[in-house]
Amino acid sequence: MIEFEHITKRYGDTAVVRDVSMAVAPHTVTVVVGTSGSGKTTLIRMVNRLVEPTSGIIRIDGEDNRSVPEFELRRRIGYAIQGHGLFPHRTVAENIATVPTLLGWDRSRIRAKVEELLTLFQLDPDFFGARYPHELSGGQQQRVGVARALAAEPNLLLMDEPFGALDPIIRAKAQEDLIAIQKHFGTTIILVTHDMEEAFRLANKIAVMDKGEVVQYATPEEMLVRPATPFVEELIGASERPFRLLAIERAGAAVEPGAAEGPPIAEDLSQREALSELLWSGREALPVAASDGSIVGRLSLDSLIRRAARPR
């Protein structure tokens, strides 16, 4: 549980973050969105005290984050940034081992952890462990950056536009990986982005920031249905609303009994992807398959249209 209590950060006369109070539930993904200069990066950097608030308290699991020295706090919190920030003079394995080394883990434990993480991120430890960051592609560097942030098994992971520098295809893959990893470790994630698509894809809850204030902090559904301000509405994009609504839910949640023609889609795709497939293949309904390949039912265009309508 991370609690922000009346957090304000001023530089001179300008308040970059203004009286923010919110609570982030454990084991969830919270995405902070906003235009550039809205204070979103400053807000999360106050969690690991890269920035000190002018006033207010941030509690992590009930404990004021100023109750331990900065460096100790930061070793407990994962931190991944845009442009990865890997140490160019250290190998991939050494980079990932950074925090465990600082914490004084013994070598065999560090080695096992590095191998586990590289494997989890689909990087062969024998091949990549001894490489230097510049020998990797952008997507691989980004994965190593996240692996380094997770190496000491933090309960909390802060991510500042971690996928900002990636091309769309690799970014989608990285987001999928992040969801899988969040499920695997149960890590609480606070992620900053300006990409609404990314926010709706990843978030359990979204905090929208505008001029230093959190103007709405809500689940994606709630935000779509009841945007708190015209700014939130604009950020979501009025013409995108039905599709964003479908993007939140999995295809499996809209399955009805029965059969349908043609190739099936996987139940863990989003309803938006299912709609897209229906429209593109010109079908009224399609079969839905579980991860083991068995057909669990059908998904119809009608039901998706109903689900895309504004909830009452």
């Binding site: 930061r74 940034i81 990865h84 920030g85 160019p88 600082l102």
Partner: protein, 251 residues
């Protein structure tokens, strides 16, 4: 079957030849007497005969080494100090001090130092030390202030203390640039050290000065030749070291 020498590029062969030539000249200068004989008047010695060329070279190198070591220590410490948050206000002051060291001619330093420290090696060490500070300081400053911001942010974010960041991230990344400064300083010192012999420091300048005094062109040439070859070889060796460090870190 590939030749075992296939890795040796022409430049490397030239450097090795120069090194061999230098060593032979220093240890067995007599071999070169016929070569230098035409340069001197009859009955004058063609090879320096008032001391061992080899020992003069060793002492010359020692003087340069000690002066550069001290300059490196002071300049790098100063650069570290003024790039810390607490020391930032000393940056302009350190810059001026180091600049004065560079603009003050070494000959003038010698002239001022002799009355205080007497004849011998010390005035030369002081002159070389002051003269060598600037390139090392400026390069260390550049190296420490031009580190990639994302890397520094990550270093803080992973929970390194200020000391750990300096020793594990900043200095290793700045090392190639610092080495460039040291290289410049060494090359300047190697040639500047010769003037130390005007105040009785044991350097290769002794050979050149003896040549000038006795109108012996062969002396002047051999003193100059040894210093020049040393400068080229040390320059190249340090440059190779920088490249291998920079290449590994890709900075």
């Amino acid at each position: 079957m590939p030749s075992p020498f296939r890795f040796l590029r022409l430049a490397t062969i030239l450097r090795l030849t120069a090194l061999m030539l230098l060593l032979v000249f220093l240890l067995l200068p007599g071999w070169f007497e016929p070569l230098l004989k035409p340069l001197v008047q009859e009955n004058a010695p063609a090879i320096y005969n008032r001391g061992s060329l080899f020992w003069l070279t060793v002492l010359h190198l020692r003087t340069v080494f000690v002066a550069t070591l001290a300059a490196t220590f002071v300049a790098v410490s100063l650069a570290i100090l003024v790039t810390r948050e607490a020391g930032a206000e000393f940056l302009p002051l350190s810059r001026s001090l180091v600049n004065i060291g560079q603009t003050f001619p070494p000959v003038a330093v010698l002239a001022l130092a002799v009355p205080i420290y007497g004849f011998g090696e010390n005035p030369t060490l002081i002159a070389l030390f002051l003269y060598g500070l600037l390139p090392i300081f400026e390069n260390a400053l550049t190296g420490l202030t031009s580190l990639p911001p994302a890397v520094m942010e990550a270093a803080r974010g992973t929970g390194m203390t200020e000391r750990q960041r300096l020793l594990r991230i900043e200095l290793p990344l700045a090392l190639p640039v610092i080495l460039t400064g040291i290289r410049l300083s060494v090359v300047i010192s190697l040639s500047t050290a010769t003037i130390g012999s005007t105040v009785a420091a044991k350097t290769l300048g002794e050979v050149i000065i003896a040549g000038l005094q006795s109108n012996n062109l062969a002396f002047v040439l051999q003193g100059g030749f040894i210093v020049a070859v040393l400068a080229v070889l040390i320059h190249d060796a340090l440059q190779a070291l920088e490249r291998s460090l920079a290449g590994r870190a890709h900075v």
